[in-house]
Amino acid sequence: MAQKPIELILARNFLTSLSTPAFLVDVGGALIFYNEAAGAMLGISFEESARTPAEEWSQTIGPFDADGRPIPIEELHTTKALRRGRPAHGTFTMRSVKGDAFEIESTALPIVAEGGQEGAMIFVWPRGKSRDGG
């Protein structure tokens, strides 16, 4: 497999060190990594999820709209914004693999290198939950 651009390697190293749930997507929008905090939120580690077909686990964990309908990744406002190379913030619902539903806020930041956009970091926060869990 081709080596990832250094900007994505550094982003992964950074996200690995955070306690904020965070995801890393490539320039095509494909999920290529999420950190342990995100794994704890979803109930499945990245290593485990990598062995599960993307369609299967994305149908389980979401994202979903307020009525519980799956939102195609292409339709997510974050995806649309990132395709334009812009940051984005929004809310939607996800579920852990155990079935617990939770609304989250997400902020997506494009990773732009000399040759153009390489991907994005997406940070998420369960709504109504502060940093200290209160």
Binding site: M1, A2, Q3, K4, P5, I6, I9, L10, R12, N13, F14, T16, S17, E114, G115
Partner: protein, 293 residues
């Protein structure tokens, strides 16, 4: 391919009687390719001595810069061919969104840091802003990739006509936030550059004990360098970019530790060496290469 080390020190020149064997000059390596042509990698203070010998004999000179920290460009101002009108010098170095390679180097070769300006140099000098890419110089295939260090920094993979490959990553911290033992290759900085190289010249500035006070400074501790070299399956490893505080005696002990740790990792005996000023290494068919395990 033949290699000569003109400077193996990192950060700042470290002259002195206790540094004589490994040398005090900063990063500079000369490669002689199969057709007799030469490449220079980095222009630390070691390039000054190199320049004295080639000022009149080598009108076309290619210099590959990994990055523009002072210990990699300080010798440029004292490189004799720069002051010869017969010289044609091409300097390759990392591109940056901030300014061109020439503009960034000119910050050093200009007042008040220098008595002359780039435009006053009598040689013909060309600057090539180099993004991650592949190209050829003479018989050599060059590959440059960005690597984990502070600021835009390249590592180089040079493959000679006979297939002999050298990888030079003088300033590199691939273990920063990354478990090198278990990480998939595509996520390891510098992996493709170094994979299967006949010789890997790699940053090894710190002992494992020193490293915690220097995390994120862009340099490697011994254990990360050895693990990286094992993961990329390089045939030989030259530990490089010695800390300016490390004396000859210290580096001798460091080498012994490195050899022991390398053996524990299953590496071939004799494959780990310390870079030292004036050291020459023959690579390729005529070289005695330790068997890879």
């Amino acid at each position: 391919m033949k290699l000569k080390v003109w400077g193996a020190r990192g950060s700042v020149p470290a002259p002195g009687p206790e540094m004589n064997r490994y040398g005090g000059n900063t990063s500079c390596v000369e490669l002689e390719l199969s057709d007799g042509s030469k490449l220079i990698i980095d222009a630390g203070t070691g390039i000054r001595s190199l320049g004295v010998g080639i000022a009149r004999s080598l009108p076309k000179i290619n210099i590959l810069l990994t990055h523009l920290h002072l210990d990699h460009i300080q010798g440029l101002m004292f490189f004799a061919p720069c002051f010869s009108p017969d010289s044609e010098i091409t300097i390759w170095g990392p591109s940056s969104p901030e300014a061109s390679l020439e503009e960034r180097i000119a910050r050093y070769i200009s007042a008040p840091l220098s008595p002359v300006e780039v435009r006053e140099l009598p040689c013909e000098v060309n600057f090539r802003d180099t993004p991650p890419s592949k190209w050829e110089i003479g018989p050599a295939k060059i590959r440059a990739e960005a690597v984990t260090h502070r600021g835009p920094t390249l590592g180089y993979r040079v493959t000679d006509e006979d297939g002999t490959t050298l990888t030079y990553i003088s300033d590199h911290e691939p273990g920063l936030g990354a478990p090198l033992e278990t990480l998939e290759p595509e996520w390891i900085s510098g992996f493709d550059l170094a994979h299967g190289a006949d010789l890997l010249i790699h940053d090894c500035q710190y002992t494992d004990e020193e490293y915690p006070e220097h995390v994120g400074w862009g340099h490697s501790r011994l254990s990360d360098t050895l693990t990286f070299a094992r993961r990329v399956e390089s045939k030989r490893l030259l530990l490089f970019h010695h800390d300016p505080l490390h004396s000859d005696e210290f580096l001798d002990r460091f080498h012994e530790t490195a050899r022991e740790r390398w053996a524990e990792l299953g590496g071939a005996d004799g494959a780990v060496e310390m870079a030292a000023e004036s050291q020459e290494i023959q690579l390729g068919a005529t070289a005695g290469v330790p068997a890879a395990t």
